[in-house]
């Protein structure tokens, strides 16, 4: 897949359809993937990766990228295409300045997931259908994909792309996910249980803003949490409940706009 993507990206750079490519590259560690922009064939060869670690949703980066001259090529997993469409309905970027290629996704894993399984010294990853091979300095280790999937991928709602200019690989189907099982559980709780549940969930938040920063719905020019005039900007919390308010306010802000891409849960 990575090879096909690089080859197609080179073609599109070559024929002038786009002048840069939005993709992924590895950081210090192989599992430490970050979004990156590539402008030449050489850069693509040197840095572009696409593997089971490439969970990042690139659609949000289009807001910035489309402000530049020329067209940008972006690779979108099925779930990313939902964010892509949401951003479009909010007029957050210019569709004309994007060339979108839909790419398949069998579900992603992460360094944390593997480390929790006792893997260390990760140097690379390969996938083949249901099996995942992790390369480490201590040799290769095989896994069942379903055992190391990220939480959000376990309830993946769709393998079908809802927006693209072209596809690499086969398009999938909308899945019968179990996204609402947790909602059903919540509904079954008594109000007290539910309150306790949320307090405990929300108490995990240290207000690092990482969820907001990756969220494709959170693309405001000036976020209310950064605006001292909003009255809810970042400041030392007066009590533990005020700390929790951050998540509650954010939930209301993205309600109706969140596409369930799960980036926040990754962050």
């Amino acid at each position: 897949m990575q090879g096909m993507m690089i080859a197609r990206a080179k073609e599109l750079l070559q024929d002038g359809t786009v002048n840069r490519v939005l993709g992924w590259q590895a950081g210090e560690f192989a599992y430490d993937i970050t979004p990156a922009v590539f402008e030449t064939a050489e850069e693509l060869d040197a840095g572009f990766v696409y593997n089971a670690f490439c969970g990042n949703n690139l659609s949000k980066y289009l807001i910035k990228e489309t402000k530049k001259d020329g067209k940008v090529l972006v690779f979108l997993k099925p779930c990313d295409t939902y964010s892509f469409n949401q951003l479009l309905t909010e007029h957050r970027f210019d569709r004309e300045k994007v060339y979108a290629i839909g790419i398949p996704c069998e579900g992603k894993t992460s360094g944390e997931m593997l480390k929790a399984k006792g893997v260390s010294g990760i140097t690379g990853i390969d996938e083949d259908g249901d099996s995942i091979t992790v390369h480490t300095v201590y040799g290769d280790q095989g896994f069942n994909r379903s055992d190391v999937l990220e939480e959000r991928c376990l309830t993946c709602k769709s393998k079908k792309h809802v927006a693209y200019d072209e596809l690499i690989g086969e398009d999938g189907e909308v899945l019968d996910s179990h996204r609402f099982d947790m909602v059903a559980k919540l509904e079954a709780m008594t109000p007290d249980e539910r309150f306790a549940f949320w307090r405990s969930q929300l108490s995990k938040c240290i207000r690092c803003n990482a969820c907001r920063n990756v969220c494709p719905a959170c693309s405001c020019e000036k976020c209310v949490f950064d605006n001292p005039e909003s009255g809810i900007a970042q400041k030392a919390a007066a009590d533990s409940f005020e700390e929790n308010m951050f998540q509650i306010i954010r939930a209301f802000h993205v309600a109706g706009r969140c596409t369930d891409c799960g980036e926040c849960s990754r962050a």
Partner: protein, 574 residues
Amino acid sequence: MLEVANIREQCSWIHKDKATATEKAIILGRAAIAKVQLNAPLTAGESPVVKRALVIGGGIAGIQTALDIAEAGFDVDIVEKQPTIGGKMAQIDKTFPTLDCAACILTPKMVECSQNEKVHIYAYSEVEEVKGFVGNFTVKIKKKARYVDENKCTGCGDCTTKCPMKNVPNEFNLGLDTRRAVYIPFAQAVPKVATIDPNYCNMLKNGKCGLCAKVCGAGAIDYKQKDQYIEEQYGAIVVATGYNPIKLDKFEEFGYSLSKDVVTSLELERLMNAAGPTGGTLLRPSDGKHPHTIVFVQCVGSRDTSGCGKPYCSKICCMYTAKHAMLIREKYPDTEVYVFYIDVRTPGKNFDEFYRRAVEQYGVHYIKGMVGKVAPRANGKIMVQASDLLMDEQLHIEADLVVLAAAIEPDKSARPLATMLTASMDTNDFFTEAHPKLRPVESPTAGIFLSGVCQGPKDIPETVSQASAAAAKVIGLLVKDKLTTNPCVAHCNELMCNGCSSCERVCPYGAITYSDKEFRMPDRTTQLRRVASVNPAVCQGCGACTVACPSGAMDLNGFSNSQIMAEVDAICQK
């Protein structure tokens, strides 16, 4: 700076417990103090007024409103979806409480409309799109193809007698007789021009015939005519879309669809009208015989909370049923007339006297009770089974004709029209007034006025009063050269705006538009961004956008986000 803590309406009037009410009064005071500290000066803007009015619907309501506006010297257009203006009143025979003939008092007004230079009639036309705001509406009108050139047709009617397509149900007579494919609804139609019905004309359907074009001496027939679209500017819009009787197929017990001799009251109007299908002699639709026993049922589908009909009182049925009963007893004294009622409601000048005349002078049998079943018999009679609540007995009446006073409902096109106008409606699709007592002829949407039954059931006198009242309001608006706009409107902080359209989607008045603007970025580059702006003439200050805006870029003058937060803080403070 002014801020009001409304202790009277929001506290002392509504609470009984003095101690807690005092506590609340203090809190309200605290909130007002918190708010006033953040008050900023408010300045009102101005917007120009287009000196032309639009009236939608050409019934008696629309006609009266248009004539009154024209009288004051302003141009006014009537958009009527039927081929002629006149509305329901044109179909009515005689009118309560004076029993003068409807056509005799209506047609002069229709003619006046067509002759008044200030009135322009777009008949057989509909409103397609409304943009803009009070003083400045832009309306797209669709003029449906008549296939007859309005300017050439003299209304001679030659085509309507020669057309071979004869069996078209005549809607003006409610399907009680037929017309041709090319028709003029009635002799006094305004505009008096023919219309070809594309559903029945053989030429338009199959390309065969063309007879009317041959007989037309004026060369008015034009089979190639297309719908036309006209765009026009208006300062004010009056809705006068009227009503229709409800469909009765859900009321099986009354046998409306089982027998031709079970008719609605509006059908009876046509059966008694000299220009109607029977030439004014009351005859049974089934066999053309004189009916000798007639049963009237009031409140069919009115005051009905079962879900089948309408929960409200249609208001006019008691009076027109008394009128029908009286007219029949007057003209055919050998006829027995029974009226079944829940109660008889006759508030109105000379109304109760009118009803009493029906009972006392004309000997109409008024029976309190509901009809249980209407069943047509093989012998042509209709069995009416009913209960007399006062005598506590079951009645079986063998009738020749049964007349159902069907509830009335707003025209079906009213709902989509209200959406176009962003005017509000109640659950029954009647347009709502800005204030039920003090502003009964204005819609809450500025520049939209209400006239006639579209606002609620009413008879002709009341319709005409409301029509003139709406005209007075329109004139009051059109004489102004400029309007001061409400200063408590929303505004957008462009530096924070994402251009995301969330606000536009919730704005009930269409006040928000977008443009691309250049911004200087901190790194000295410029960036083109889509940002929202609010038209202060359209914004009603409802505040919906400020809540929808994720970034807080939208704010409302006079009720800013920070003021509301300050109030909440003050209220929650112990």
